[in-house]
């Protein structure tokens, strides 16, 4: 065990009986040179008979045994008989474990190779279509479950609803507040640089308020909630799928959608609008800070200007938007969770997909709202 490496010597002439003497360690560490050395010998010497003397071998592991078996295979291909001499009892046990036939056996299934581009594209399209189908059927299930819960409020797991309201709402308030405050500061500061030139400082208040209440408040809040809670929903449900917990629910006669998805959806429907209001307020506060410190406005005039710049209509529609976004986030989060197959990798993919799809849907629906509200206003 103290020596390292192997020693190899060959006796005998071409075409006659030859003996290979091996000594030292025949192990994984030297597998590559050992394999190359030994494989070359039968073809080079073409002996009538080949003996391999293992008397000096101190250590043989399964990689070393593999080399010997490959040597036998190689020699057999050249129809040279091979004898292993002085094999210790221990090494004999090891050699007998390895079945030379199995080394040749092809896999039961070919290796998966990259398929041609057309096939890949087709597969991709098929997967997109299936994904769309799954989303649609989930939407159906979710609506059924929600309607059922509306008719039977007692079946809703209200304790869970409260728990997720805390998770998605109260716990998320600090980050929503911070980001909105900074957003308000930035918007007010950047716009003041322009508006100052026209002496229109006061309109900083309008700009911040309208931008925030109509567009950025709901959208920023929704994106933060998608990142914080949508992903968490997907990971939670996905892990439950992997651990057979969803199957356990099914066998106990629960509807997983009603049991797992409905409380999350209801909770986010309540908290996202509230978070949106907070986001609006903090952004306005940010604007106020810039207005008072940088633009010589008084807090009173700034707030008056803010009040006059928005209508109840704007406020209400922004809350409706927030509710719609909440359903999108929690719905897609739960759906991606239920979609998980396999193990850890599946959970990771579904979590990523939950956030990406939620943000995409938020933007799509927001554009639809923008057009719709324009026509409602006029």
């Amino acid at each position: 065990m103290e020596t390292t490496g192997y020693r190899l010597s060959v006796e005998g002439k071409t075409g006659e009986e030859a003996t290979i003497r091996l000594a030292g360690r025949l192990s994984l560490d030297d597998l590559e040179p050992l394999m190359a050395d030994l494989q070359a010998i039968p073809g080079r010497l073409m002996p009538r008979r080949l003996s391999v003397d293992l008397a000096g071998v101190e250590y043989l592991d399964s990689a070393g045994a593999l080399v010997l078996i490959e040597l036998q295979n190689r020699a057999r291909a050249l129809s040279i008989p091979v004898d292993l001499l002085n094999v210790s009892e221990k090494d004999h046990g090891l050699l007998s474990l390895i079945d030379p036939e199995l080394l040749q056996r092809p896999p039961l299934r070919p290796e998966i190779v990259q398929s041609p581009i057309l096939e890949t594209m087709g597969e991709l399209a098929r997967r997109q279509f299936r994904d769309f189908q799954e989303i649609m059927s989930f939407v159906g299930e979710l609506i059924t479950a929600l309607v059922y819960c509306l008719a039977h409020p007692r079946v809703v797991r209200w304790a869970d609803v409260m728990f997720y309201m805390k998770r998605a709402g109260a716990d998320g308030l600090p980050i929503v507040a911070l980001i909105s405050l900074l957003l308000g500061l930035i918007m007010a500061f950047m716009s003041s640089l322009q508006l100052k030139q026209f002496g229109a400082n006061i309109y900083v208040a309008n700009l911040v308020t309208i931008a925030m209440v109509r567009e950025l408040g709901p959208i920023m809040t929704a994106i933060i909630v998608a990142g914080r809670s949508g992903s968490a929903f997907a990971a939670e449900i996905g892990t439950m799928i992997v651990n057979d917990e969803v199957n356990a629910l099914l066998t106990m006669g629960f509807d997983p959608t009603r049991f797992l998805a409905v409380p999350k959806v209801l909770a986010t429907m309540v908290v996202v609008p509230i978070l949106t209001v907070y986001a609006d307020l903090f952004a306005i506060l940010g604007g106020l800070i810039v207005g008072v410190t940088g633009l010589d406005l008084t807090a009173f005039t700034y707030i008056q200007q803010t009040k006059s710049s928005i209508s109840i209509f704007d406020f209400v529609t922004s809350l409706i938007k927030a509710i719609v976004f909440a359903v999108l986030i929690s719905g897609i989060g739960c759906q991606r969770g239920f979609q998980v197959r396999g193990g850890a990798e599946g959970v990771g993919m579904s979590t990523t997909s939950a956030v990406v799809s939620a943000i995409f849907l938020i933007v799509v629906f927001d554009s639809a709202f923008a057009i719709m509200l324009y026509y409602v206003r006029h």
Binding site: S27, L28, L31, E32, M35, D61, S62, A63, L66, E70, K90, G93, L94, S96, L97, I98, D99, L102, L103, R105, P106, P107, L108, R109, P110, E111, I112, G342, G343, A344, E345, G346
Partner: protein, 253 residues
């Protein structure tokens, strides 16, 4: 390899294990000899999995030492520890195969990471290992497509990829039917006798303990340590401790 070969290769000395303020094991000492099949027994919650995690260096002991092949793994630096880890193969209870990789990729992973072998040689070694555990042909199957017993064997093939000196098994028979479990016993024995790997098991599977173990220690929850040691036959026939007798005769307390 004969059990008379009495060279201790794993030495656990006065090991005390704690989770926070809770002491799980106190002053546990024992030795494992080269080439033997050594089992750590005990009821649920007695700390046998904790002991195993200390032996493979996943947890650091509160006090005491674990010496593997002459190296104190509790105080070794990262580089030495890495070298020791290459000599250790572990078969985890939940097989711990990577679900996103095929069987051959799972087995090849340690080989590609720790050796510079060309890919055709690696493929050959992988074939051999899969053949050793009776899974030849399943190279390109995914773990999820296999039965529990096959997954266990695939996990064993991965654990053996680098020809480790030591194999650790955490409840290898859990969730296997008696026939599959007996087949695993035969496989483990042939590997132990053929390759001479030192094997340490953590288990409570009575049938396999009796057929496979050469020496055992038994842990107990209240004692927080070893309450019996010896061969399984000795413990079953000669022990005077009711806790040991109940375990071996499958009596309720």
């Amino acid at each position: 390899m004969s059990p008379s070969d009495t060279e201790p290769v794993i030495i656990v000395e006065n090991l005390t294990a704690r989770y926070g303020d809770v002491t799980i094991l106190k002053d546990v000492s024992f030795e494992v000899y080269r080439g033997e099949r050594f089992m750590i027994l005990g009821g649920s919650g007695c700390g046998k999995s904790t002991l195993l995690k200390h032996m493979i260096g996943l947890l650091k002991p509160y006090a005491g030492r674990v010496i593997i092949n002459g190296i104190d793994i509790c105080r070794a630096d990262e580089e030495t520890l890495q070298a020791v880890r290459k000599q250790i193969g572990v078969l985890f209870q939940a097989d711990a195969l990577f679900g996103s990789m095929s069987l051959s990729q799972n087995v090849a992973l340690p080989l590609t990471e720790y050796t510079d072998l060309p890919s055709d040689l690696i493929r050959e070694i992988v074939r051999m290992k899969l053949g050793l555990v009776d899974l030849s042909g399943f190279d390109n199957h995914m773990p999820a497509e296999l039965s529990g017993g096959m997954r266990k064997r695939a996990g064993l093939a991965r654990a053996m990829a680098l020809d480790p000196m030591f194999l650790f098994f955490d409840e290898p028979w859990a969730g296997l039917d008696p026939v599959t479990a007996a087949e695993l016993d035969i496989l483990i024995r042939s590997i132990n006798e053929g390759i001479g790997t030192t094997m340490v098991f953590v288990t409570q599977e009575l049938a396999s303990i009796l057929t496979l173990a050469q020496r055992v220690i038994m842990l107990h929850k209240e004692a927080k340590g070893i309450i019996a040691r010896g061969t399984p036959g000795e413990l079953r026939e000669k022990s005077t401790d009711s806790r040991v007798l109940n375990f071996f005769n499958r009596h309720a307390m």
